[in-house]
């Protein structure tokens, strides 16, 4: 698109224009074709689209599984009045659970490493949820273990409802029921490759399963940090982590490892070329998607941009490492 050809109306209208409840605004996120950051890298007949999950009301892709897990808990009676929603989270799921808890008037307690970004802590507090901090040196696996210990003090299971995003099939199911069909429709069935970074693996598992059922030759690609020691907040290096119960590596066609530096640099390029400020997991996903796209002659590659970049302005992605408070 040249600078004179500004469209008069958006090509895709995200979600309904009027809703009775904030939870009705979850999902139906827009798909944006990336034409500038891909220029000179991707062959002409290959299209790359990003699904902008930051448009969810909680600001990330996690609204989908959080809502689905809570609906499932209510349906089973595991979540009922008097109980508190509790889970361990690196941030976005926590924000989603806090938002949904506020909307449904359920108390929420979240276990997270104490070094999660200030923005996350403040957003969660704004929704009225309580944060329980775990040892930052033990990362998100430390939060998982602390949450298990808290629940061990409630052996009857009468105080808490734990969505358990790492092991709850309602997590991938949310993507099977919503993200997958949306992408199928938004690409008119032309998608050839789906790329998503792995946190719990819910997105890639659920969306992947739906797309494979529509057309078995659609390639499902997962992106993960290249090392246990990385700076890609929200993503998991499977070989060195507590592996989620919902993760089935045999359902992936390909796995791509991305370095922290490459993902950060991509975040800056996306902002400067596309006018889109996203988080580091989106940078990692695009590094992976471009590795896939550049090898093709033609095709339609769809990737997930999990959230917006404002949520990380206080983190190493943007501050502190040049000595003058900005990035180099």
């Amino acid at each position: 698109m040249d600078q004179n050809a500004v469209p008069v109306a958006p090509a895709v209208t995200p979600g309904p224009v009027r809703a009775p409840n904030v939870l009705d605004l979850i999902g139906r996120t827009p798909l944006l074709q990336l034409t500038r950051v891909t220029k000179g890298i991707v062959p002409e007949r290959v299209r790359v689209f990003a699904k902008l999950e930051g448009f969810n009301p909680g600001g990330s892709v996690k609204d989908r599984p959080a809502l689905r897990m809570i609906q499932e808990g209510l349906r089973r009676g595991a979540l009922r009045p008097g109980r508190t929603i509790i889970d361990s989270t690196s941030g976005n799921t926590g924000i989603a659970l806090a938002m949904i808890g506020a909307a449904l008037r359920y108390p929420v307690e979240l276990v997270m490493p104490s070094n999660v970004s200030t923005e996350r802590k403040k957003v969660i507090a704004a929704y009225g949820a309580k944060i329980i901090y775990s040892d930052p040196l033990e990362g998100s696996d430390g939060a998982i273990r602390l949450c298990r210990r808290i629940l061990a003090d409630d052996p009857e299971g009468t105080r808490y409802f734990k969505p358990d995003q790492y092991n709850n099939e309602a997590n991938p199911l949310a993507h099977y029921e919503s993200t997958g069909p949306e992408i199928w429709r938004q690409t008119a069935g032309s998608i050839t490759h789906f790329v998503a970074a792995i946190g719990t693996s819910g997105t890639v598992m659920g969306t992947g399963r739906y797309l494979k059922e529509r057309r078995a030759d659609i390639q499902i690609v997962a992106v993960e940090p290249d090392d246990a020691w990385h700076g890609l907040e929200g993503l998991k290096h499977m070989a060195s982590s507590i592996v989620p119960g919902i993760y089935h590596e045999d359902r992936l066609d390909r796995k791509i490892s991305v370095s922290t530096e490459a993902a950060y640099d991509m975040v800056y390029r996306i902002a400067e070329t596309e006018g889109l400020l996203v988080g580091q997991s989106s940078g990692a996903a695009l590094v992976g998607a471009l590795a896939v796209a550049r090898e093709l002659d033609e095709g339609t590659v769809v990737l997930i941009f999990c959230d917006w970049g404002e949520r990380y302005l206080s983190t190493r992605l943007w501050t502190g490492w040049t000595g003058d408070g900005g990035r180099a």
């Binding site: 070094n115 990362g139 998100s140 922290t260 490492w321």
Partner: protein, 91 residues
């Protein structure tokens, strides 16, 4: 001066699983050099080829980020505790 270093889980493969290591040093930079002498290879994970702390790595002296102190020149005194803190993974 003995300084205690708290080692995060992903780097404990260098320290034979130890959660903390004590070394003698007067600055954070010297502390990392000492740590690497005891546990070869660990500094390369914390600093890049130019010797600067990697962009995504956080080092704290008694809870204060060294980027807001004097980076690798940040002074240390007996009894200080240095933490090397990773990013947060997984949903």
């Amino acid at each position: 001066m003995p300084i205690q270093i708290r080692v995060p889980t992903p780097l404990r493969k260098f320290t034979n699983g130890a959660e903390s290591v004590t070394v003698d040093a007067t600055t954070v930079g010297a502390l990392l050099d000492q740590l690497d002498k005891l546990h070869p290879g660990i500094k390369e994970r914390i600093c890049d080829d130019n010797g600067r702390v990697r962009r995504f790595v956080n080092i704290y002296v008694n809870g204060d980020d060294i980027r807001f102190l004097q980076n690798l020149e940040s002074p240390l005194k007996s009894g200080d505790e240095v933490s090397i803190v990773p990013a947060i993974a997984g949903g």
